[in-house]
């Protein structure tokens, strides 16, 4: 009898997702020739932020309502350290990731014992503390934020002041963060995380410490949100209160829901849609928020699992029609 290694069996789930990710990567490599690089930087940082949030919202089932705290904390940490210390940008970013992850451990430890609305409220309250901290401390310069942050030289060698160079630096760092996240989701740990989300009591009685599992996810998510915030601050040479504002926490939920939670490509598509909308609708001023609201309502009412859900449905219909095995 042949031995079956059950780990090696292919999993037929969202196969188009991988193809789409490869196409998007190819697009990302050539896009700055056609599109303003800093706009693309914004997309990349928000894709990373939304994907990080998806780890706790989609895969751990935790509706956090304060993820901007991690994005913003790293944003300020990177801006202030790059401005005042003689360090290279990658060290500043690592510092930002570290402080976000450390705050993730503390906030996570306080919040994960509660579920649903209570979890959301605790994370919102903690994030508001962070917001008011940066609104008060002198070195954060209140409404003005930390401006004119120097981008510096990558590894002390490559000057990042050119937008094109900055874009490829951000793309490289983004890929490290994003691939790490994909690895986490596909790892045995990722399976346990999904199991805890599906049926926490059963996962515990099989021998897993659900709170520890969720805390690890929360910390990874906070660290990666920090990576996104740090890249954002360095690229735009600015850390401001809008980076820690609760509206940003709401926006990231919106991105994940529009794209499709608990899928790898959902937050990517959601972030692209929301950032593009903000950018191209900018001439309408505050009306952007109204458009966002309308789109959000339409998405929630008509697309149960976001854009990914719609593509899944179309792919299935196409396969059924053409009679091919999917």
């Amino acid at each position: 009898m042949t031995t079956i290694d059950i780990k090696q069996q292919p999993v037929a789930r969202l196969e188009w997702e991988k193809v789409a990710l490869v196409i998007l990567l190819a697009l990302a490599l050539i896009a700055p020739s056609f599109v303003y690089p800093l706009f693309l930087v914004r997309i990349l940082t928000f894709v990373l932020f939304a994907s990080a949030y998806n780890l706790i919202f989609g895969y751990a089932g935790l509706l956090g309502f304060g993820h901007a705290a991690f994005f913003g904390l790293a944003s300020y940490a990177v801006a202030q350290s790059a401005k005042t210390l003689p360090i290279t940008p990658e060290i500043a970013i690592l510092f930002g990731v570290f402080v976000s992850a450390a705050m993730g451990v503390v906030f996570g430890w306080l919040a994960i014992r509660r579920q649903g609305l209570y979890f959301a409220m605790i994370t919102l309250a903690l994030a508001q503390i962070v917001y008011f901290f940066f609104a008060q401390v002198e070195w954060a310069h209140g409404e003005d934020g930390i401006q004119s942050v120097p981008r510096g030289h990558f590894l002390g060698l490559i000057d990042l002041s050119d937008n094109m160079v900055m874009y490829y630096f951000v793309l490289g760092v983004f890929l490290i963060g994003f691939l790490f996240l994909l690895r986490v989701i596909a790892s045995p740990y990722g399976e346990v995380l999904k199991a805890v989300r599906d049926n926490e009591a059963r996962a515990i009685s099989l021998g897993y410490d659900a709170n520890a599992i969720k805390l690890i996810a929360f910390t990874i998510s906070a660290g990666l949100a920090g990576l996104a915030g740090g890249l954002n601050a360095l690229s735009f040479q600015l850390a401001s209160l809008s980076d820690v504002h609760y509206l940003l926490s709401a926006e990231v939920i919106l991105m994940v829901l529009i794209g499709g939670a608990a899928t790898t490509i959902g937050p990517v598509l959601g972030a692209v849609v929301v950032v593009a909308m903000q950018n191209y609708f900018a001439p309408f001023g505050a009306w952007v928020l109204v458009f966002q609201g309308v789109i959000f309502v339409v998405c929630v009412l008509t697309m149960r699992n976001g854009i990914v859900g719609v593509i899944d449905m179309l792919a299935k219909a196409w396969v059924d029609k053409s009679g091919k095995a999917y």
Partner: protein, 248 residues
């Protein structure tokens, strides 16, 4: 009729020290008291059933052993080590595996992922190949979503995945409920295999005819108390009494 405690002492004494000793176990669902005073012993390598009507406290006893009842009191000792106060995940790591009545298959994981998810707590668990020998259906359905399986297959998966972990005490909560007779027989064969391997099994069953073909001993639970116990050999002489207990 046997005196419950005398019977326990006799049986526990006959085959050496008890693996699991439960004394005066009480448990509550909120304010409602589900277990009043459960006392029972299970020896290494035994198959013991908990019989009783719906709501008697059989499943609650298993959940209490597993640490899944928020409020419990008394004493549960595994090889002399007290389990009251231990977290449920820590109890699983000591080598007790539980297959709940609702099976608890994770819907977003495939059969293969469900099967390999539980952590290995001890050497000597079954290999995947051995599990597929017991449940050939699972081999064919590895990439299927866990909850897309039929009820019987889900039960096979729920039992199969805990056999990998190397647990030495297996708690099965009504594994045959609502299943076709052929699958019930298959699960019966599996329980016999577990006994041959020297594993200890506590089986909660409503289906007494199924239980008596497998078990070494039976405990009858009523209103959160153990009201009777007997060896399988004593069953023929006590059929009427059992029928009265179980209302069959």
């Amino acid at each position: 009729m046997h005196d419950v405690f005398a019977t326990q002492t006799t049986h526990a004494g006959a085959g050496g020290a008890a693996m699991l000793e439960i004394r005066n176990l009480e448990a509550w669902y909120g304010e409602s008291r589900a277990l009043r005073s459960i006392c029972l012993d299970v020896r290494d390598g035994e198959v013991v059933t908990l019989l009783g009507r719906n709501g008697a406290g059989k499943s609650t006893t298993l959940k209490s052993i597993m640490g899944m009842m928020r409020k419990r009191a008394g004493s549960i000792k595994l090889y002399g080590e007290e389990l009251i106060g231990c977290a449920s995940n820590a109890i699983a790591r000591k080598g007790i595996a539980f297959c709940p009545e609702n099976r608890g298959i994770f819907s977003s994981l495939t059969v293969a992922e469900n099967l390999t998810l539980p952590p290995i707590v001890r050497d000597g668990g079954m290999s995947e190949e051995e599990i597929f020998d017991l449940f050939p259906n699972l081999r064919e359905r590895l990439n299927t979503g866990g909850t897309k399986l039929s009820g019987g297959e889900q039960q096979m998966l729920a039992i199969g995945r805990i056999l990998r972990t190397g647990a030495r005490l297996i708690l099965l909560d009504e594994p045959t409920e609502g299943l076709a007779p052929a699958i019930v027989q298959q699960i019966g064969r599996v329980i016999r295999r577990l006994r041959e391997r020297g594993l200890t099994v506590i089986l909660v069953e409503q289906n007494f005819r199924f239980a008596e073909t497998l078990a070494d001993r039976h405990y009858v639970i009523e209103n959160g108390n153990v009201v009777d116990s007997m060896t399988n050999a004593e069953v023929p002489a006590n059929r009427d009494k059992l029928a009265a207990y179980l209302g069959v």
